[in-house]
Symmetry: C2
Subunit: 508 residues, 2 copies
């Protein structure tokens, strides 16, 4: 898949410029935490949640609004009553047990291929906002250009491992062919593993077809080359659109992120424990279905974790309760040996303000302190995930780098060298000039302004929203597309043209 063009040799200044350019992006491998996992439930708590979820599936059941899915359930000892499926804990856990605890997702550039689960964590972009807060500070509908831009920015982000998907919805592209352009955007502007489409059965199938073009038919059927998100309708309903996508991807051994759409106090109980209990039930029964479709196909367990503000009825991102739910979700995922997908970085704020930072941190913190394996929403989301901000994207990326650094934990390897340095510096001295200090790998936020107030004032009193915008412009200027073989590019574009021609005239 990699370009076979040989680089031409270049002279002095050009080479140096290219070396500097090539210095970015740095690509961090999937995170393997060296810090302890923060657990908010003890073993008894985990088993109480498990038992609650099992009782929900045994006594209340879950609705599958899809005949084909019900047919799959009829192959088991589940009790079917209309669309309602009730399943006993032994059968359920046996099915769930087929899902692997980790999987490899291949990228078109093999160096970007990642392991997800079993202690390995990847970071994925935003998902689904129809609006952007653009370079001019205007909130408007997102376009394909915006999507391409955000693919580029995520491609360049050192701590982002995944590309593709609707980082923003390209609203200027008609819905019936939008998925084709979204898949192309992710494949073209990044060489990281990609997220697939789920909005209709044929769109999931098209995604699989495009991946076969990239990886070859046989490879793409036996290996995982996409991960795709399906949302449940909490409480306890899975609809046919999502189930179609689930079945298509499962049949093709592609990973599915099974995500009940919990809104605590509205679609799930007004309790963090109650919410996680219902969500576990919803997720496990969908994962079980996929394992009937194709035993062993890769799955992720997770939820968006919002709390509903009872004064307005609005769901909010960024709250201590949703952080608690995320931490519990991780413990439950680990109990079932399933990779865990968590939502990292969404602000309820309408703009890039201090509350946006706090809101986001309530998502980022549990993502990194737990052992969640697929951290979605790498940066930029405001307005409860309706709007993607260029400025916030760049500021948020630095928080990912910071947590990546934090998760490396502490090193005692240089303790004796440090002791000798302390002896050498002595009381009243300073460490700035010491050899040990020069090897420092302490983390400093690139966008954090630490000059004097007077200097900051002279530089135009830029707040960090402005700094983020400047950085977004700078990154897009410096972006270099990863190599893509011309024939592959042509084949993908031809597939898009063909599929678009097949659509009714009215929509193209």
């Amino acid at each position: 898949m990699i370009s076979e063009e040989k680089p031409r040799r270049k002279g002095g200044r050009t080479r140096k410029r290219e070396q500097i350019k090539n210095a970015v992006p740095v690509h961090h491998p999937p995170l393997v935490r060296k810090i302890p996992i923060y657990e908010v439930l003890n073993e008894e708590g985990v088993e109480l949640v498990h038992d609650f979820a099992m009782r929900v599936l045994e006594q209340v059941g879950c609705d599958f609004r899809d005949e084909e899915s019900l047919d799959f359930w009829r192959k088991t000892d589940a009790e079917i009553d209309g669309q309602r499926v009730r399943v006993g804990r032994d059968s359920l856990m046996e099915l769930v047990g087929h899902a692997p605890s980790s999987y490899i997702q291949h990228a078109r550039n093999p160096e970007r291929t990642v392991k997800v689960g079993d202690g390995h964590t990847v970071i994925a972009p935003s998902y689904g906002p129809p609006f952007v807060l653009d370079m001019d500070g205007e909130r408007r509908y997102a376009t394909l250009d915006d999507l391409n831009n955000f693919q580029k920015l995520n491609h360049m982000a050192s701590s982002v491992h995944i590309a593709g998907g609707p980082i923003v919805e390209p609203v200027d592209i008609p819905v019936p062919c939008r998925h084709l352009h979204m898949a192309y955007s992710g494949l073209k502007y990044s060489d990281k593993p990609i997220v697939g489409n789920v909005t209709a059965r044929n769109r999931a199938e098209d995604t699989v077809e495009m991946m076969k073009i990239v990886f070859g038919e046989q490879f793409a059927t036996n290996h995982t080359v996409t991960s795709s998100l399906i949302n449940g309708n909490s409480p306890l309903v899975w609809d046919s659109t999502m189930l179609d996508a689930l079945k298509v991807y499962a049949q093709n051994n592609q990973a599915v992120l099974v995500s009940p759409f919990s809104m605590t106090a509205a679609s799930t109980p007004a309790s963090n424990v109650g919410t996680i209990g219902v969500v576990v039930a919803e997720a496990l029964i969908a994962i079980a279905l996929a394992q009937i479709v194709r035993p062993g196909c890769p799955m992720l367990f997770g939820l968006p974790s919002m709390t509903v503000a009872l004064n307005t009825g609005a769901p909010v991102h960024g709250s201590p309760d949703s952080a608690m739910v995320q931490l519990m979700a991780n413990q439950m995922a680990r109990r079932y040996r399933l990779p865990h997908r968590a939502i990292m970085n969404v602000a309820t704020s309408k703009c890039v303000d201090i509350q946006a930072g706090y809101d986001s941190m309530w998502g980022i913190m549990p993502c990194f302190l737990s052992e969640a394996n697929w951290l979605t929403m790498s940066g930029g989301l405001i307005e409860g995930s309706l709007t993607q901000s260029y400025a916030k994207t760049l500021i948020d990326f630095e928080q990912l780098d910071a947590f990546y650094h934090f998760a490396q934990g502490n090193s005692f390897d240089d303790l004796e060298e440090i002791f000798e340095t302390v002896k050498h510096v002595g009381p009243g001295g300073h460490f700035l000039g010491e050899a040990h200090t020069r090897k420092s790998n302490l983390f400093i936020f690139p966008s954090q302004n630490n000059v004097t107030y007077e200097q900051w004032e002279a530089d135009g009193k830029k707040d960090s929203a402005r700094v983020g915008l400047d950085r977004a412009r700078d990154w897009l200027n410096r972006y270099e597309a990863p190599a893509m073989d011309r024939s592959l590019d042509q084949a993908l574009l031809e597939f898009i043209r063909k599929k678009t021609r097949e659509l009714p005239k009215t929509v193209t």
Copy 2:
């Protein structure tokens, strides 16, 4: 100390208005965490840091730039060489062992009296900024009016337990009598326990005198009625000003927060482990000195935890490394059974922007996830602690409430009621109208805007810095002074007048 005036009975509307007013402030008791403590060091790591600190004090030593302190050390088996003190681990640990693992700090209103340590945590205001970012968005020198305002705001904050101290420096008051007005400000505008002054021996003594006026001579000498901060000069130096304050407060059984002024990579090694090793040495030897002065006097162990940006040489607040240092500091404090003071909420940002939120969260998070007992900087600090922002203060307070809520952990008490509710709601239903939902105590940020974008736009597109300002104005309008006996007020003012008269004419 409480006003003995009887409240007059009032009629209908007046009473109702007063009831609403009296509904705030809510005062949370000191936090007792029901969540697990997040530990980043294993037992071996804790002992490696301990051994490192002991070797520093045995082999390198610490300078005490104060003859009286050296005389105290001469009463022990420490090795004195000029100002350098080296002390063996057995002697040191024996002295440190006299410091209590918790203490009671009394407030002039007994209902606000707090326990600090042994699982009990209090929150204290900002400390020391000479500037304010004021109600008009202007950065200027702080005045006594500002200090009084911030006393009022902290008094009203439900999760703030402590008052007094230089929440801002009242720069309009001459230095020699500033401490008198600072102490009065804390005592007058709040009835919570207060922070004392440390900038000179006589100022510490004046603080003690004023507390004797409030509590009576005997009570104030036998009980702890102030906690005061002394900063070390890292690496490994304690100066006479701070030692004078330490001795005065220790002699009077008042609590001292012993805080080496670590700046990782400049005043301490460029390593989180190395930093905590040096800081432990610095703090323990000062705590040991206080225990020679008065065995059993209450102490807190802590550090400001900044990282130096090697590109500018500037110390920054808000970094993953300083969060790591704070978490380790808590583990070391617990090893020594000392109450731990941590710094919560300081932004490096120059304004109230998204980076300010992120910066602050890197301080707040380790404060609450560890078992730190005295969390200073309740809200408002920007510019690396040089400026106190009215707007940020109010936004930050909500984060304290959120973490206070988070630290209550999970409840399983209502699990059966939740299960019955899930059965009742069933697949596809919703929980909003359920009896269980109406009892919800989920946390929603008051300043987090969760209305539609269009509504937000129509309301003036206020960012959260603006919302914070509006709230600050509103709180100050609604502030009601806690009762203070008129004779006590007069006695305090008379003491200030007397002390001011005794000062040379040039400074008053």
